[in-house]
Amino acid sequence: MKHIKTVNKPTLQSTVNKGGCGECQASCQSACKTSCTVGNQTCEK
């Protein structure tokens, strides 16, 4: 494309009906303790 450069291949839509296993880390446990960004968590699967 000439006007647009797409930088990622996201999977958000595909996780609507799968996921939810709950094995991932609690976000506030990771580093911050005062804010709970969830976008920077990783999936354990």
Partner: protein
């Protein structure tokens, strides 16, 4: 109206985030302007609106590219509702153990009232610690991965109980098949050689508190006698991190109104030889160090500076990991996780020194938020349900916001502090979070492109 896209300029890039797919696109200036008008259905209106500024052939070319993205579900992707994978009830798998409502520092901004949490100085007993472990084992149900964070106050002032609980956890892991990740958050004052060795032998991850530059740290983190602590804790942190080959730690700082030039603090931490960093804003009300609405232009400009400094250091081969710039644009958590957020009150509880359960460490001692105790279980059945349902799609100010699938709706404790309602987000926190997300998206997009282009 629910925001389906978010466009922003960051570091000279014109960036478009498609909220419901998570797609990130770099646009040229013309396509960026087109997105003020284009809604996926109005090609002619878009051309008319911009025909005076750009050649029509170019506009139509860009429109065809935009439609291509829509066909690939990377632009105006379908709205996301609460998925069936988001169970009605949470499974408690993480706990913050307040092993010491006591501290050997007197940090000016401490939300725990320098360790007391509005009560008296108190240490957790072995019995409470063991009961907390049993509570997680029972209530984490089929979940294999569980977490315990030793917190305070300063957890190392109650080291015997930290050791006892750790040994207990390791024994129960073998008996139950659970895997516990243990973390300890410390100010570093008591981190001597024997503690170091024990932490390493027992695979305890660490959050080490340091506020950047010496003068910044010493101003807000004095010891009980009012003396600066920077030199002492830095020496201990250095030895600690070296002793575990730089693994399993975060060096974490807080910035306040006193150091809105916090890029200098992040770089000071990196220059001191640490490369896994997190620095974030103090949350306070009516205090001289509190960050207020009026500080936001300065705070945003500083995140711009930090972003450029972060990328510059990487280019120089001196890169570091910064917690809030870390984001997996292609993978990342599932929708259910994005709704669960931090899990406070439904997947994650804090245990006060006396065994009382609270939604998280920040709620400890707050009236009306006691859930029960590790001995009697949760007696307030309504609260966990209310926390579980207080996700971004149920909060009036969050459900339409572009950041809804990244921020998890902000911190409940902060919302309660400012508005007395966990569903009413703390505005300054939201503004900072959004700015940080824009910076993170820019950083990760830049790195992804660099990788793709070799």
């Amino acid at each position: 109206m629910r925001e389906a896209i978010h466009k922003f300029e960051q570091g000279g890039r014109y960036i478009l985030l498609d909220v419901n797919s998570g797609s990130v696109h770099f646009l040229d200036r013309m396509a960026y302007d087109m997105m003020d008008v284009f809604d996926g259905t109005n090609d002619e209106e878009t051309v008319r609106a911009l025909a005076g500024k750009y050649p029509e052939t170019e506009l139509r070319e860009a429109l065809s590219e935009l439609h291509e993205l829509m066909d690939a579900k990377q632009l105006f992707a379908p709205d996301i509702s609460v998925p069936p994978t988001f169970a009605a009830e949470g499974v408690v798998k993480s706990m913050c153990l307040m092993v010491a409502h006591d501290c050997n520092l007197r940090c000016e901004y401490c939300f725990g009232g320098t360790g007391e949490y509005g009560g008296t100085r108190e240490l957790m007993s072995r019995e409470v610690g063991e009961a907390a472990v049993e509570y997680i084992i029972e209530h984490s149900k089929g979940r294999k991965h569980c977490e315990i964070d030793f917190f305070g106050g300063e957890p190392l002032v109650n080291l015997p109980v930290v050791k006892h609980v750790t040994e207990y956890v390791r024994r129960r892991e073998k008996e139950t098949g659970k895997i516990f990740k243990l973390t300890l958050t410390t100010n570093g004052l008591l981190l001597d050689e024997s503690v170091r060795e024990w932490l390493n032998e027992n695979h305890v991850s660490l959050v080490l508190s340091l506020d950047g530059r010496r003068e910044v740290h010493d101003r807000v983190r004095p010891d009980a006698g009012g003396n600066g602590t920077y030199d002492r804790v830095l020496k201990n942190f250095r030895a600690m991190v070296d002793s575990r080959d730089g693994k399993d730690y975060y060096l974490r700082g807080t910035y306040t109104k006193y150091n809105l030039d916090f890029t200098e603090d992040v770089l000071a931490m990196a220059d001191a030889g640490f490369d896994v960093l997190s620095v974030e804003p103090v949350v306070a009300k009516d205090a001289p160090y509190a960050i207020e609405e009026a500080d936001m232009p300065r705070v945003c400009a500083e995140y711009d500076r930090l972003t450029e400094a972060y990328l510059e250091r990487r280019r120089e081969g001196k890169g570091f990991f910064f917690f809030h710039f870390n984001m997996d644009l292609s993978g990342g958590p599932c929708v259910a996780k994005r709704l669960s957020g931090c899990g406070a009150g439904h997947e994650y509880y804090a245990v006060a020194a006396n065994g009382d359960l609270y939604p998280c460490h920040q709620f400890v001692g707050r009236e009306g938020y006691r859930l029960g105790s590790v001995f009697e279980g949760v007696t307030n059945k309504e609260l966990p349900r209310y926390f579980r349902e207080s996700h971004v799609l149920n909060k009036p100010k969050c459900k339409d916001c572009w950041a809804r699938f990244f921020c998890s709706g902000g911190c409940h404790a902060n919302a309660d502090l400012f508005h007395g309602d966990i569903r009413e987000p703390y505005e300054v926190g939201c503004a900072i979070q959004k700015k940080r997300l824009e910076c993170a998206i820019r950083v990760q997009a830049e790195l992804a492109l660099q990788q793709a282009e070799g």
